[in-house]
Symmetry: C2
């Protein structure tokens, strides 16, 4: 494949991208001559972004494509968890149909890689894990889906959960989750030791939900940094939400500790909660990745799976205004998020994957600020979506139904 007249992030002149075998083999100024039969796409001066990466979702919970269900107006994480526990069966959750509907929405919006936190508890068992794994297989080659075994109902306070997390790893989860070790589970040391022990013994990563804010959240993050060094898991640990990072007295010190320990931050810029600082994270060398959080589920009605729109929200909540600042938000939903998922070669470089998203914008900064539609989504050198709809491929590796 040859994509001509493409404006890439950080370059002012349009280029031609040549792909072969699912990789980018050349990026050059002249369009050149394609091989006989080679597919040529004229980007016509539009911007080409790398594949978008969603570092935090909950696709197992979604009602996407299903009936409209009003969410409860409750204040705490514990109340939302309880509401979901009471009502998930009524709505047939987890539902392979809804999960697939949401995954398709993500693909047509340009998402090529996804980390999703799947509920694991004695009530739902591994049903979420197996449902998501089945949908993931169906969309293999179109979107890579990584599962976090997520103790949404608590770990120490919900004793049957820990052995299920180990089973979830055997069933394909590659990351161990956690949930407010202090604020929800009331046992921060025991909670984190259980998570770190399991990750160390199974060779998986760690991604902890931390809604705890202020000095409590900041203290827990310090503990996570310390344990990451002690367990030698640098580069494999993320803190999601991380509202406590906004706690001014400790922010700079925490970012330094995260940089030293190799702990990443993941934010979906949710609701009115604090958003980690793009500029300060970049300056400290802390990876800040973007996600969507839950989409249209029993926790809340919002969301569409669009990571470019989420980059806009992360930038907006950061009061990012200049083009340079907007590019930090793009990094959060591309390169940074990929690294959090353990992918080191993401991005538009020769030798990198041929994952391209064509948008009607004159620059990547404009794309973040204005959130144009996705004209074309190319995965591994193959068009998988066009103008908001999946494209069936001719080559036998067709997107699935």
């Amino acid at each position: 494949m040859r994509v001509t007249n493409a404006v890439l992030p950080g370059r002012s002149e349009p280029v031609t991208i040549v792909t072969e075998g699912g990789r980018i083999t050349a990026i050059k100024e002249s369009p050149g001559v394609g091989a006989p039969g080679e597919e040529v796409i004229d980007a016509a001066g539009r911007t080409v972004l790398p594949g978008l990466v969603n570092a935090h979702a909950h696709i197992d919970k979604t009602l996407h494509g299903g009936p409209w269900v009003s969410a409860p107006q409750v204040e705490t994480v514990a109340e939302r968890v309880a509401h979901e526990r009471r009502h998930r069966d009524t709505h047939g959750l987890p539902s392979r149909e809804y999960v697939a509907s949401l995954v398709e929405a993500m693909v047509v919006a340009g998402t090529t890689h996804l980390r999703t936190h799947t509920d694991v508890d004695p009530g739902v068992g591994l049903r979420g894990i197996t449902a998501v794994a089945e949908v993931a297989r169906r969309y293999e080659g179109v979107i890579d889906i990584q599962q976090v075994a997520f103790p949404q109902g608590g770990l120490i306070t919900n004793p049957g959960t820990l052995p299920l997390l180990r089973d979830a790893v055997e069933a394909g989860a590659s990351v161990i989750g956690g949930l407010d070790p202090a604020g929800f589970d009331d046992a921060p040391n025991a909670h984190l030791e259980a998570v770190f022990d399991l990750a160390a013994s199974t060779g998986t990563g760690i991604d902890i939900h931390l809604h705890d804010g202020g000095s409590l959240g900041a203290w827990e993050m310090g503990l996570i940094a310390r344990m990451t060094r002690e367990y030698d898991l640098g580069g494999r640990v993320a803190v999601s939400h991380a509202f406590g990072i906004a706690h001014p007295p400790t922010q700079a010190a925490l970012l330094e500790r995260f940089a030293e320990a190799g702990v990443a931050l993941v934010s979906a810029a949710v609701y009115d909660a604090p958003v980690p600082p793009l500029r300060a994270c970049a300056e400290h060398g802390v990876l800040l990745a973007g996600g969507t959080d839950g989409i249209n589920d029993l926790w809340g009605p919002f969301g569409d799976g669009d990571m470019l729109r989420r980059a806009m929200l992360i930038a907006y909540r950061n009061s990012s205004r200049s083009d340079d600042e907007l590019m930090l938000a793009l990094d959060a939903v591309t390169t940074n998020a990929a690294r959090v998922l353990g992918i080191e070669d993401h991005g538009l470089t020769v030798g990198g994957p041929a994952d391209l998203v064509v948008v009607d914008a004159r620059s990547a900064a404009e794309a973040v600020a204005r959130v144009p539609g996705r004209d074309l989504v190319i995965r591994s050198g193959r068009v998988v979506a066009r103008d908001g709809a999946l494209v069936g491929a001719e080559g036998g590796n067709a997107p699935p139904h």
Copy 2:
């Protein structure tokens, strides 16, 4: 016109809306039989919203439809004002072309009424006022545009401005603006007295930009409430942004004073700044209206003019999750915003204006949460936009170019 199978906010069964002479003449359960030649639109179970109202924009500043310009990454209102003063001429601002481009984007997104704050100062004079007035005339009958004569460069600190505000009223502005009487102009009493005197003597309304937050903003709002009573301008005064309303020690008392005095709040849920509380405003009887603020201008690169998306953001920043809470955000961009603009009969009722927006959602709450495209925009009983594009009318009152 007859719109059948329409789901209206707050009703569970689809209805038929009959319009005549630009007004709604009937809302009934059976589709009935139209008059010969009557236009019939099948909403097919989709949701019909009232015309969307944008209570706060700055269309005179916009670069919409023009070249991409990086905004400065500066921290204060004063720095942004200074940057704009230095660069607006270079970019040909105010530009009728850009203003018209933005107005069209607003119309296709379902906006039927707009209040826009137009810069007035000795540098730009009345050029913004006349440019916006000209564009407003071009789109008459499609969108109603109300201008605020806005002292963006200061009032007391910028002595030539006050007489120009009076000239702006003669040139068609119907509201007097103000800007951080304390934080920007350093003369809160003199600033507000000038604004209130001018409004009282010209029979115009008042809409004050108040970025000042915390106890300073709260104090200024108390002063505005007191002056609204003293000048007997209840129902004609709004405070825009109103970041200080989030100041917890005084919030409830201020909302009571605003309710008593007849002062409204306008929010665009900008950046990371505080958003006034939807539920508390409704409970206190204070009108909270939504706006977009500036769109793609020298202050910042964001925005698309879509008031339904802005309702979503206002709801999201309010942590609104239930259908009931989402409806408060819809009120903010319809009925409440209309009342702030002095329009009392807005909304889908018999006798009201035939301003209808058809969206692909099963309920108004879903429309706020998911922000579907605008399938049809009907103004005064005439289709003015369809699927994101303006529609030329056959009847001689065509949308303008």
